[in-house]
């Protein structure tokens, strides 16, 4: 019988040692994994459409007859560079499209982007495990403290729109901020509430209970929506506040933009909010929202771009604190912002100003990253509209150019 105890003790000892070894290796591995030197670039069969012939000739490293002059194992661009990014799900389709298109132009560059959520992206950025991160919200002061010298580069613009399902009423129901706050606070409960009727003359609204739908998961969409309601309604600001998830006074929660869209589609007399893309894709009726100038604005790529244009005037420098940046906030009191849709927001890429702080970054990768970012804010914007993203207005592109010029590697400016 006792032999079994002996074996048991031995096993436990072995397991502990194995766990220790594993842990050690793992901690080593996390510091070096993302470099993935064997990134095999997929040679695309399409003829290379790039205007500038890529300086790096072949996607496959041919065994050259001349011996390689550099004995260092650091990957050079010719061997292929993998850029790893992670973060918000909202810009994922766009960044993914960029990755594919950029790979056609520069077959040796492979961009991997994982849509794990803004929170996860910021965390990985702070832990320096990715080359770039994406977030729907700028870093808060506390987050910026943990990841000093982070640059914010707005890459696209999103708009959050109220969607509703009232039989026989198509898109275009008008909402003021006060009405939306009232509905989401549970103070306006019927569709034929006098406040709604007052701004929608000529539309016969039903005497039906409003079914409120919100996001159940934490999301940048919710952050934008609650920011808007906080600006409009002091009561909202005090009792609910703004955040990626909040303590909702009323309503059902749907998971993701898709979940909210599905719930609204399934539930008569409901109201919800989604990214504009999802309203379009699901053919949902969406409302017009009043801006500070007093106009009811139809959500559209143009009205979002206009909103970004007004906000661009006040943007801080790329390396300053962006924690206060919000198109929603800057439009809140701006009675001059004609034609701007008020619930609009930037989506950002976050990179370090000095790229050598990343343990898995070499100069070649840094240069590639900067080239990719430069391409993304210029040529990359052409792919935005097809995917219902809003191309950056030229004012913001100019701002970004200055920001990208700040990026350095070992103190050396990478883009001139």
């Amino acid at each position: 019988m006792k032999s079994i105890y002996k074996i048991a003790i031995l096993i436990v000892a072995v397991v502990i040692v194995a766990a220790g070894v594993f842990n050690y290796h793992f901690s080593q591995a996390t510091q070096t994994t993302p470099s993935s030197p064997s990134a095999t670039p997929t040679p695309t069969p399409t003829p290379n459409p790039s205007p500038t012939p890529a300086p790096t000739p072949t996607p496959t490293p041919n065994p050259s007859p001349t011996p390689a002059p550099t004995p260092t194992p650091t990957p050079t661009p010719a061997q292929g560079v993998a850029l790893n990014g992670a973060g918000a799900t909202f810009p994922f389709p766009l960044i993914d499209k960029w990755a594919a298109e950029y790979n056609k132009i520069k077959p040796n560059v492979l961009v991997n982007y994982q849509g794990i959520g803004s929170g996860g992206g910021i965390q990985q950025h702070t832990e320096k495990t990715v080359h770039f991160a994406a977030s729907d919200a700028p870093l808060t002061a506390a987050q910026a403290e943990k990841a000093p010298n982070t640059l914010h580069i707005p890459i696209t613009i999103g708009g959050v729109v109220p969607i509703y399902n009232i039989p026989d009423i198509p898109k275009g129901l008008k909402f003021t901020g006060e009405i939306l706050a009232g509905i989401y606070l549970g103070e306006i409960t019927k569709w034929n509430d006098p406040k709604i009727v007052a701004v929608n003359p000529g539309i016969s609204l039903p005497n039906q209970q409003i079914v409120v739908v919100h996001r159940s998961d934490g999301s940048g969409t919710t952050f934008i929506w609650t920011s808007y309601l906080s600006n409009i309604s002091p009561k909202w600001k005090e009792t609910v506040g703004r955040g990626t998830s909040v303590n909702w006074p009323v309503g059902l929660g749907g998971k993701g933009n898709d979940g909210v869209a599905a719930l609204v589609k399934q539930t008569p007399y409901s109201i919800g909010y989604v990214e504009f893309t999802y309203a379009k894709k699901n053919n949902l009726a969406y409302g017009y929202v009043q801006n500070a100038a007093g106009e009811f604005i139809e959500p559209s790529i143009e009205s979002f771009a206009k909103a970004a244009d007004y906000a661009a005037v006040t943007l801080p420098r790329g390396d300053e604190s962006w924690s206060k940046v919000s198109i929603v906030d800057s439009l809140a009191g701006n009675t001059q912002a004609k034609g701007a849709y008020p619930i609009t927001s930037f989506s950002y890429i976050l990179v370090y100003k000095e790229l050598n702080v990343l343990p898995n970054m070499d100069e070649a990768s840094a240069r590639t990253l900067v080239e990719f970012l430069w391409w993304a804010i210029h040529d990359g914007q052409n792919y935005a509209s097809d995917l219902y993203y809003v191309p950056l207005p030229s004012s913001v592109v100019k701002h970004n150019e200055a920001t990208i010029r700040m990026i350095t590697y070992n103190g050396q400016q990478l883009h001139k």
């Binding site: 074996i7 397991v15 803004s118 159940s216 934490g218 999301s219 609910v240 506040g241 955040g243 998971k255």
Partner: protein
């Protein structure tokens, strides 16, 4: 007196002899024993690590809220940053209980039918299909719940329930489609395969002599079936708790149909609610500060604890019954 001493001496000798012969030899048998034990203990190690990590992750929340976390009724990540999980715990337990109310009679029927009534040939087909249901991924149940079950229940079931029983508070109030009852129904569908499979196994190990005796006494088939149930009753309870364990841990399908509304108690069966696993799945990705993440970890810890206790309980009961019944059968 003397003989007993002799025996003990003999025993002692045997032990030392056994020890002196024990030697580590590198042979296939020992290596196999070691490797097998290693694999087996990896499960324990995994569980231990999981508990350790969860406690480590939720330490901040445990320090900040202590017991108030379990008794608190407020979940406010935006302004006051106070987290309390009582509504989640209640939501989890109540939806699981509703699922059991629906699933247990059905599973009992399936188990009995398969062991007592249905001819073997069909029995195989039916039990195969029932087990196939267990293999359907839960997100598919969720999608089916949103697009098929919710509209159907809202338009054809709940509205009638309300007109018939609307005077009872739990059947009053607005009907959204999704909600507590819908969550319970989806959960019930998901646990029926597990529960009914265990019940079938339990009923089929009830000795034939029991049935023969009942029939010899002139009992009807139904009376015989009742004896079979009562013979395996503690095992049946175990099977039910096993289903409860599964229902409590279920995430995706429930998240998609329950409505995700954080409140202590819903106004009716049609109202929305929230569960522990659902809030983790929903909020962890965008939890933006340490205390928030820690609070979600704390929810996970509570959930793990509840499911562990329930699963251990059910396993013990099922094992005991199986052993008891088999032991009796041998006699």
């Amino acid at each position: 007196m003397e003989s007993s001493r002799k025996i003990s001496l003999f025993n002692h000798k045997l032990n030392t002899k056994h020890f002196s012969h024990f030697k580590w030899q590198i042979n296939g048998d020992n290596i196999f024993k070691l490797v097998g034990a290693l694999f087996a203990s990896s499960i324990l190690l995994l569980l231990g690590l999981m508990i350790y990590e969860l406690i480590k992750g939720s330490w901040l929340s445990i320090q900040t809220f202590g017991l108030d976390f379990i008794l608190g009724t407020k979940w406010d990540p935006a302004i006051s940053r106070v987290f309390g999980a009582l509504p989640l715990i209640l939501g989890t337990v109540v939806t699981s209980a509703i699922a059991l109310l629906i699933a247990v009679p059905i599973s009992l029927g399936i188990g009995l039918a398969l062991s007592e009534y249905v001819p073997k040939k069909f029995g195989f087909a039916i039990s195969f299909l029932v087990e196939l249901l267990a293999a359907v991924p839960s997100v598919i149940y969720g999608l089916w719940g949103i697009f098929v079950l919710i509209p159907f229940l809202r338009d054809h079931v709940y509205s009638h329930l309300q007109t018939l029983f609307g005077f009872i508070p739990i059947f009053s109030g607005p009907i959204y489609g999704g909600g507590v009852l819908t969550g319970g129904i989806v959960l019930a569908i998901m646990i029926i395969p597990t529960v009914s499979a265990v019940m079938r196994d339990l009923f089929s190990v009830v000795p034939t002599s029991q049935r023969e005796a009942m029939i010899a006494l002139g009992a009807t088939k139904w009376e015989t079936a009742k004896t079979v149930i009562s013979y395996a009753r503690s095992g049946v309870i175990g099977a039910i708790i096993l289903g409860l364990g599964r229902a409590i841990g279920e995430t995706m399908a429930v998240t998609m149909v329950i409505g995700n509304k954080f409140q202590v108690w819903p106004s009716s069966l049609f109202d929305a609610w929230y569960t522990m696993s659902a809030i983790i799945a929903n909020e962890l990705l965008e939890a933006t500060y340490d205390l928030y993440v820690s609070a979600l970890m704390n929810v996970a810890l509570v959930l793990l604890f509840v499911t562990l206790v329930i699963n251990i309980l059910s396993r013990l009961i099922v094992w005991r019954t199986l052993r008891l019944v088999r032991g009796m059968a041998k006699e």
